[in-house]
Symmetry: C2
Subunit: 460 residues, 2 copies
């Protein structure tokens, strides 16, 4: 059996390795159009900020290391242009040889991933407008920063990447302005009450956050952006722009092969990561996956989920009478970031998402401490829990603080998966307690106690 | 209804407050023989080490603050000498008045707690031999350290308190020797492979750990201990001894009232925290409680469990036709400590405990990282998981590292409660990932992956 894995950033290598493990007799070939596979995309901001010095360390394994240790063949600088599942073949463009040829495969795993969204406005193609997705983007941006005397960066987008990059660029001494529609950072990730300590930390580091949308980039005679014109008719002079407004799935290859997309615009798969086309599986940042709350497919392009979907796709693609069918467990939408000295993390659905799903949900927040309050180094820790009104079933959580916020979100993951109510969390879950690391009643339990009460309070 | 709560350290105040909340018409009286209630016993080592400066901050609420905010009557310096549940009365010795009198109560909640175990050897009553349990013990020890020029302390016992105190006394510049039966610290809490980084940290700070048992304390002409004679016929000169060999339940009052003790020697209660005697409930560090694995009662005197049992006892004692009966959920035995720059935590049962319960268990350990390895500040993190052979069901876990170890143990709590297998942990649990706070595959998931394989490996 020959298995083609298309795409080598994160899910692809995981799928290729797992396919070999699941069926050592299969011949597995990994195609990647860039020169790199197995890239730690989440480390890119720290590479640009200089905390991680070598670009090479972002490449977890080189193609030849991968071949040696994982047993799959790797073809970098090979762009797959078409797959024909029915004919069991694909067309591949060997970029370094200028040759296009056809290869026969029995099964296909699409790991084509995502690309950075673009604004689609005038001036966006200027050489000093960057997005951040690939290692090459990162190397280009860093080279530009090292070579040119950039002074003021405008970051379009206040999501995770925007905030991480703002922190890293401040570290490099640049002036930073963030443009977001809402006028605050992380507005999708955090409710307003938990966002305020984060906004304060961002402001304290001198980053300006403006509630404006860029309408066009004005370029100078050399073709470089020198100012951003916004919807509020403001002109913001700058010498570098970073567009960080999210990701969108790469689906062209799938669509041409007749693979169906879901409502989110990403590739639709069943719980075995199989597409609607026989012999085609998909995984990674190009697909939509079900969420725990109600099984509804969501687009959640994050490395741990990508890797998990890759293992399921690969096991099912590679098995031939061997072992049972692997299934993908719905996701809890766990996400965390650290920037401006704050840990920011969330899990589950937001109030809006719960309401859209027809659930009467109620949120409550507490401000507590990361350690026993009198123990040196204790910091405020904010926890917000979202529960179903009446039952108190835990639907989501947010946590913010200088320490201990992100790992506390992990504890909510199984609790949300298992449908714990806030009452049960308060009454049954024994969290560790020691003064240097947690207060006598953990912030999560304080929050659960408050949420349990809020759940049974009469609706207004 | 009049409810007597006997004992005011931690469980007692929690029970008294909850009883008032559950039945605001009940008259609740809290008796405590010392002058303090609501003491943060776990903070004591940091008070002695000087990280927490004021003894007063260890008293979370003064008796009068407690009365005002919680609505129960507090009688400190009142020692209850007998309870007669059938006659609905108790005898109390008002220590400051020298008067003994009888009071009528309908219901009794025993929160008499635990005392520090003693060695029962010659010289143990010397004024420079200390235990650490009450605020008074702590104040005495600190006063002794501040007044006398102590130079070398022998700590008998290498458990959590022994290790915390060794760290704090080193901070004060004292020489410290720990005597343990096994010759290593935390030998009950940690398996040998995870103990070694801890032992290294302890040694690096100049603490000597000896595998010896004290046979007698030799006193000088003033009656103070000047040397410890051990079972290996060694003589260790010292000018202060701390005996920290664990706790034992205080049960005299219960036994006199006809309350049955369990196999552990602590007070036996049902799942509503009721004793075998009508109108008598018990909670806190004096009782035994069921563990998640098999419901077997264990003695686990720790504040969060004590507080949880107090709420159940109080709700059941206070209700009178109001609300349902509260039940106590079995414990996961979660425990953590931070000392010598290391976080050390565990949850669930040990290999020995699993074997004693007739379970064929298999343990496996991994050494991974606290952050992405290339991110500055990444430290080694050790995780050991214990699973049932065959099924892979998670039974227990240990985690050690300079950061992120204790909070990771919290994530295992619901997973153990819900009987997750290592395979399901690996395949279903989405833990957060961001380079400054966690590697791409969290150490818990790396450990789960290894444990899943170990579970299905054939037994030797």
């Amino acid at each position: 059996m020959r298995i083609a894995v298309i795409g080598g950033l994160a899910a692809g290598p995981a799928a290729a390795a797992e396919a070999v493990r699941a069926n050592p007799e299969a011949e597995v070939v990994l195609f990647e159009q860039t020169p790199h596979i197995s890239v730690g995309a989440c480390e890119i901001p720290y590479f640009i900020g200089g905390r991680i010095e070598q670009a090479s360390t972002l490449e977890v394994l080189t193609p030849s290391e991968f071949e040696k240790t994982r047993g799959a063949t790797v073809k970098v600088r090979h762009r797959v242009t078409t797959i024909r599942p029915r004919e069991r073949s694909l067309t591949v463009d060997a970029l370094d040889f200028g040759s296009v040829h056809e290869e026969r495969f029995d099964r296909f795993i699409l790991a084509t991933g995502a690309r950075a969204k673009r604004l689609g406005i005038e001036g966006e193609d200027a050489p000093n407008v960057f997005t951040l997705r690939s290692l090459d983007n990162a190397i280009d941006l860093k080279a530009y920063l090292d070579a040119e005397r950039a002074h003021h960066v405008v970051i379009v987008g206040g999501g995770y990447i925007g905030v991480e990059m703002a922190d890293e660029l401040r570290r490099r001494g640049l002036r930073v302005t963030i443009l977001t529609q809402t006028g605050r950072v992380l507005s999708k990730a955090l409710s307003e009450d938990l966002a305020s300590p984060v906004s304060e930390a961002v402001r304290a580091r001198g980053v300006i956050v403006r509630g404006e949308v860029p309408m066009r980039f004005e370029v100078d005679r050399t073709g470089r952006v020198k100012a951003v014109h916004t919807d509020k008719k403001e002109i913001i002079g700058c010498d570098l722009v970073l567009v960080a407004i999210g990701l969108e799935p790469r689906t062209t290859l799938a669509e041409v092969a007749g693979v169906r997309l879901g409502k989110t615009g990403a590739i639709a798969v069943d719980d075995g990561m199989q597409t609607n086309v026989a012999n085609v599986w998909a995984c990674g940042d190009g697909i939509e996956v079900p969420r725990v709350l109600d099984g509804k497919p969501v687009y959640f392009p994050l490395a741990p989920v990508a890797r998990r979907s890759a293992r399921v796709a690969a096991r099912n693609a590679a098995r031939q009478g061997r072992g049972g069918r692997a299934t993908f467990a719905p996701i809890t939408q766990t996400i965390a970031v650290r920037a401006f000295g704050m840990e920011i993390a969330r899990v589950g659905v937001s109030l809006n998402e719960a309401r859209e799903a027809g659930i009467d949900a109620v949120a409550s927040s507490v401000q507590h401490w990361s350690r026993v309050k009198t123990y040196p180094g204790a910091n405020p820790l904010w926890v917000r829990l979202l529960v179903e009104r009446g039952s108190g079933r835990l639907l989501g959580g947010e946590c913010v603080g200088q320490e201990g916020a992100a790992l506390r979100i992990n504890t909510l993951v199984p609790l949300i998966r298992e449908g714990y109510t806030a009452q049960r969390v308060r009454d049954e879950v024994d969290l560790m307690y020691t003064p240097p690391l947690a207060p006598a009643v953990d912030p999560l339990l304080v929050a659960a106690s408050k949420a349990a009460k809020a759940a049974i309070r009469r609706s207004r």
